[in-house]
Structures are given as C-alpha cells and as structure tokens.
Subunit: 160 residues, 2 copies
C-alpha cells in the first residue's frame, strides 16, 4: 500500500485529533487532551496558524502526522519544534514514522533554521533509539517545567 | 534603587545579548551563542517578531530580562514558552528575577493561554526550588532532543 506525505488541510482536523488522543493514551495520560476538533481547525488552519502539520495518507486515510511550529533559541536563532510525531498503531513498523520524520527534517532544512528540537519520554526506548540513530542529541540534564492556568491565577493572587 | 519592568525595545538588543551571553557562561556553554546583536534586532523587533521580551531597568541600565514566545500544545492549546529568565550577577538577590517572573505570568494569564512552560538545568538547584515554590511542575521524565543543521544535512543525504 502506497503512503503519501502531504501538508495537512482543515478537513484533516478530526483525523489529527484522533492521532493526538491515541498518543495521549500511549503516554499514559488518556484524559489530558482538552483540545477539540474546532480548536485544531482554528489554531492550525486560520489566518495566523499556531502550527503546521504534515500527514501520511494511505488508501485515503490519515495514518500518521508530524506537527510542528517555530521556536526561538537565544543561542542559535530560529528553530522548529516537533510537537508530535505519530503513526497509528495498526500501521507502525512500515516506515511511515521515518517518512514523516524525514519530510519534517527536509522542511526544516529548507526553511533555513539552525536547529530542530522536541522532547521524548525517557522510558520510550524505541523512540529514544530511533532519534539517537538519526544523529539527534538526547539531553538528559534539562528538565521541562510547566505551570497551568489555575496555578498562574493562584501565584498572581499570592504575589499581589 | 527602583527597578522598572517594561517591554523591550529595539535599542535594548545589545543589553539583551549581553544577558544571553552571561547566562551561556553560567550554563557552562560560553561558546554556544552564535546570535548577533543584528539578529536580536531582526528576530525580535521586526514585522513578524519571533519572540517578546520584558526587561528590568534600574538607574537607566537593563539588569535582567524575561524572553518568551508562543508554542502550541496538542493537549492544551496555545501556550507561552519562557526561553530565558536572566538577572545579571551583580543584581541578583534583590527580587528582580521574581518581578520579571511575575510580570511574565501576568502577561501569559492575560493573554489567555492554558499553560506556560520552560526548561531548567537539573543541577541548577536555586532555579529548580524557585520554580517549585511558585507552584510550577518540574517534569523529569521528558528529555529534550535536538538536531543541528549539519546533522540535518547529513541525515537527509543518508536517507536519499
């Protein structure tokens, strides 16, 4: 079965969300996704898109995606961040992930950025090995920090 | 001495770069900064700015900054990423970092994002404790992955 990589369009939003939800289950956070199909449409396919997305299509169905957006390094300048690289379970092991990864790197290289970056769960050995084999560097000394909206409100109240 | 927090302007570029370089030395990567003053001007203060910056000014001098830009979470929607929170060594311990941090959180909260995020070096205990005390979550299981431009070219050549 032939797999085609193409830019996502607005009508892919439902398929994109299904892949996002599938990854959240895999990452042991099944209830973490608050984004809705309408959000995907508005955020990715409006006047000022917050992300870009490549999808892998096979037999008329979206079976994988690479979703990314620009970031800025104060050391290296403009970069691209790969937020999600997802292939649906039933199509894993056919090279679809590699094809999406390569298409993303091609896009990034052509765009002229000095760096691409993303994060990986340290227990996801398959992914860690895949990235290392491609020449990417896995940096273990940087920890991700996050604050949600409720905590922001709480912190601002406390600091008044 | 009174400290004022304000939006950075183009003529702050040299002071911003000096702070970036000071942080790179602290993070044991003194040669990592390839960005120049002209880049800061073009990337942050052009028609499509790649980042926003708040600076702390005291006695006419920029002594600290919070530099950030939008990101996108496929779980939570639009977020803001705090790339650098820096206070120059000679002005540390006076609450300037906290004032910048608070101003950033205020800006993020008002902008409506569901999450703010950043990274911290795991050996930088002062920073880790500061963030934890503010209510932020430090996630240790996510590793940062990066690929530089040279490696991108190498990978694409190999995969042809």
């Amino acid at each position: 079965m032939k797999v085609q990589i193409r830019q996502a369009i607005k009508s892919d939003a439902a398929a994109i969300l299904a892949l996002i939800q599938e990854l959240a289950v895999f990452e042991k956070e099944p209830d973490a996704v608050v984004v809705k199909e309408e959000d995907i449409k508005a955020h990715g396919f409006g006047v000022n898109p917050l992300f870009q997305c490549l999808v892998a299509e096979s037999d008329g169905q979206v079976i994988g995606m690479a979703l990314f957006y620009p970031r800025y390094s104060t050391w290296k300048g403009p970069t691209l961040h790969l937020e999600d690289l997802i292939v649906t379970e039933s199509h894993k092991g056919r090279g679809v992930g590699t094809a999406l990864y390569k298409a993303f790197i091609e896009h990034a290289y052509t765009s002229g950025v000095n760096r691409i970056e993303w994060v990986v769960l340290d227990w996801n050995n398959t992914a860690v090995q895949f990235y290392k084999k491609s020449g990417a560097q896995v940096l273990q000394e940087w920890d991700t920090v996050q604050m949600d909206r409720e905590t922001m409100a709480h912190y601002l109240k406390k600091k008044k």
